[in-house]
C-alpha cells in the first residue's frame, strides 16, 4: 500500500446554498453561490506500508487519521497525489453500517458481509466462524432492535474481523464489548497479522495499539510528525499530551 504526495482538501462552508431558489437569487444578485474556505486535511502525505505490517495512526482529533483510512478504502478521492493498493481491503470506519434494526442477527450478518463486498459462497465459508466468534447463539434469530448497543457492535465486529482481507482498516472500533470479547478481538487481530495480513488502524486506546502494532505514524494537521517503531512513537506521543486548554477546544 502506498500513498504518494497525497493531499485532501475539504471545503468548510460559511454559507452553503442548498436550494435552487437561493441559487437563482444569488446568481441574479451576482453573489457567490457558496461561501467557503478550503482547508487541507492532508498535505503532501507520503506513506508506504509493506504487506504484513501493522501500523497505527496516532494524532489528535482532526489531524487527518480517518481521512487517510477513507482515502485508502476508496471512500474519498484524493485532491492530488496517488494511492496504490494491492489485494482486498476491508474498511471498518463505522461499525455496522448497513445494519437494519428490523432484521435478525443472521440476516444482518449476511447483509453486512455483502456490504463489505463478500459474495455468497465467501460468506458461507466464514459464516460458522463469525457466529462462533460473536458467541451469542441465542440472539441470532432476534431482530437487531432488541439488541443492546454492545451486542450490536459485537456482531458487526465479528463479521469484519472474520473476513480475512489482505488489508484491514479499523477506525476507532477496538473499544467494543466487554473485557473478554476485547481480549478475543485483539487475539484475532494478532493472528491476522501473524498470518501476513496488513493492518492499519486508528485508535486512542494506546495500550491496545502497543500490543498490536509494530509501527506508529503520528499525524498532526495532515502531516507526518514522526514515523518509527511503535514504542518510540508512543513514548513521544505520550510526552506530547496537549495542555488542558487544547483538549477543551478540540471537543467543545
Amino acid at each position: 500500500m502506498e500513498l504518494r504526495g497525497v493531499s485532501k482538501r475539504f471545503y468548510f462552508y460559511e454559507h452553503r446554498t442548498s436550494s435552487l431558489r437561493e441559487w437563482f437569487i444569488r446568481r441574479i444578485l451576482r453573489r457567490p453561490i457558496h461561501v467557503r474556505h478550503a482547508a487541507f486535511s492532508l498535505r503532501n502525505l507520503d506513506l508506504r506500508i509493506q504487506p504484513g505490517e501493522s501500523v497505527a495512526l496516532l494524532g489528535h482529533n482532526g489531524s487527518g487519521k480517518s481521512t487517510v483510512l477513507r482515502l485508502v478504502a476508496g471512500i474519498y478521492r484524493p485532491t492530488s497525489g496517488t494511492i496504490t493498493t494491492a489485494g482486498r481491503i476491508t474498511a471498518v470506519i463505522e461499525l455496522g453500517a448497513g445494519f437494519h434494526p428490523e432484521l435478525t442477527g443472521v440476516e444482518n450478518i449476511r447483509l453486512y458481509g455483502a456490504v463489505l463486498g463478500l459474495t455468497r459462497p465467501e460468506l458461507q465459508a466464514r459464516y460458522d466462524e463469525i457466529v462462533a466468534f460473536a458467541g451469542m447463539d441465542d440472539f441470532l434469530d432476534t431482530p437487531l432492535k432488541y439488541y443492546s448497543s454492545g451486542m450490536e457492535a459485537r456482531l458487526a465486529f465479528s463479521v469484519a474481523v472474520c473476513l480475512e482481507p489482505a488489508i484491514l482498516l479499523l477506525d476507532e472500533v477496538l473499544a467494543v464489548g466487554d473485557q473478554a470479547f476485547r481480549a478475543r478481538c485483539l487475539e484475532r487481530l494478532r493472528a491476522f497479522h501473524a498470518r501476513g495480513g496488513t493492518l492499519l488502524l486508528v485508535s486512542h486506546e494506546l495500550d491496545s495499539i502497543q500490543e498490536l502494532c509494530t509501527r506508529g505514524v503520528w499525524l498532526r494537521a495532515g502531516r507526518v510528525v514522526q514515523d518509527a517503531d511503535i514504542a518510540t512513537v508512543l513514548a513521544a506521543y505520550r510526552a506530547d499530551r496537549p495542555p488542558a486548554r487544547d483538549i477543551s477546544r478540540e471537543d467543545p
Binding site: I75, Y76, A91, A97, E107, G113, A114, V115
Partner: protein, 268 residues
C-alpha cells in the same frame, strides 16, 4: 479508480458492480422483508391502494367524464400499475442516498446499487401484479392468450431501465439540492396527466403527438395498452423508439450520477 469515460473505462465499473451482486440481492430482500414484516395481509396491501385508485378512475371516467374506451377497466389496469411502478421507484429512489448516508460515508461500494435495489424490490412486487393483470385480461377480456403477451418481459425490461435511468439523476440532484423533495411530487403529479394513464394516447391531437411522446413514459404506457389491453402487436417504430428512449435516459442518468458519485461520501 480511474475517472475516464468511454466503453473501456466502463468495463471495470461493471465488473465492480457484478462483484457486489450479493449486496443488491441482500438489499432487495431486506426492503421486502422490512415492508411485509408483521403484516398479516402483506402483499394484499400493496394491491389495495392502486386497485382503489383504479376503481375510482373507472367510476369517474366511464360514468362522469365519459372516455370512449371499450372495457375501460382493462385499459386502466394495463397501464396504471406500470405508472405506479415508475412513481414509486422514482420517489423511493430519490431518498435513497440520504436514507443510507451512514453506508455511503463509511463504506466504498458502487452506490448506484442503492437505486437498483429500490427498483429491484419494486420489480418483484410488479411481477406479481402484472401476472394477476395478465390472468384477469386472459380470463375476462380476451378469453384466450394473445400472442402479443410474449412481449411483456421485454416491456418490463424497458420499464426497469427507464425507471433507473430517471431515478439516478434525480437521486444525485437530491444529494446537493433538497428542493427535489418538494419539486418531485409536483412534477410527478403533472406527469400523471401528461401520460396516457387514464386516457389513450390516441386522444392526443395529432399536431401535439410528437411533443407528447417526448415523455418516455407515454411510449411505455402505449406499448402496454397495445400488448396487454388490445392484445395486438405494437408498431415496430413505437417499440424500437421507446427502447431507444429508455437507453438514452439510462445513459444520460448514469452519466450524471457518475459525474458526482465520487463526492457523495463528503456531502451526504
Amino acid at each position: 479508480m480511474s475517472a475516464g469515460s468511454g466503453v473501456l473505462a466502463r468495463a471495470p465499473r461493471m465488473r465492480r458492480f457484478w462483484g457486489y451482486r450479493e449486496l443488491l440481492r441482500g438489499l432487495i430482500v431486506r426492503n421486502l422483508k422490512v415492508k411485509y414484516q408483521r403484516s398479516l395481509l402483506g402483499f394484499v396491501w400493496t394491491l389495495v391502494n392502486p386497485l382503489l385508485t383504479v376503481t375510482i378512475l373507472v367510476v369517474v371516467f366511464s360514468h362522469v367524464v365519459r372516455i370512449q374506451v371499450p372495457q375501460y377497466w382493462a385499459f386502466l389496469l394495463s397501464g396504471y400499475f406500470v405508472w405506479n411502478f415508475m412513481l414509486q421507484t422514482l420517489s423511493t429512489g430519490t431518498w435513497i442516498f440520504a436514507e443510507h448516508s451512514r453506508l455511503t460515508r463509511s463504506v466504498s461500494f458502487p452506490s448506484e446499487i442503492l437505486v437498483f435495489s429500490a427498483a429491484g424490490s419494486r420489480l418483484i412486487e410488479f411481477a406479481a401484479e402484472i401476472a394477476l393483470i395478465l390472468l384477469a385480461t386472459i380470463l375476462l377480456l380476451h378469453h384466450s392468450v394473445p400472442a402479443s403477451y410474449v412481449l411483456v418481459p421485454l416491456l418490463v425490461l424497458i420499464q426497469v431501465v427507464m425507471a433507473i435511468g430517471l431515478a439516478l439523476p434525480i437521486a444525485t440532484l437530491s444529494v446537493f439540492y433538497h428542493d427535489v423533495y418538494h419539486a418531485l411530487p409536483i412534477a410527478l403529479a403533472s406527469l400523471f396527466y401528461l401520460s396516457p394513464v387514464f386516457y389513450p394516447a390516441s386522444m392526443v391531437p395529432e399536431a401535439l403527438r410528437t411533443l407528447y411522446f417526448l415523455n418516455p413514459i407515454a411510449g411505455l404506457l402505449t406499448l402496454y395498452h397495445d400488448v396487454v389491453y388490445a392484445g395486438q402487436w405494437p408498431s415496430a417504430v413505437l417499440l424500437a423508439g421507446t427502447a431507444l428512449q429508455a437507453a438514452i435516459v439510462y445513459a444520460f442518468g448514469y452519466a450524471v450520477f457518475h459525474r458526482y458519485a465520487s463526492v457523495f461520501a463528503e456531502v451526504v
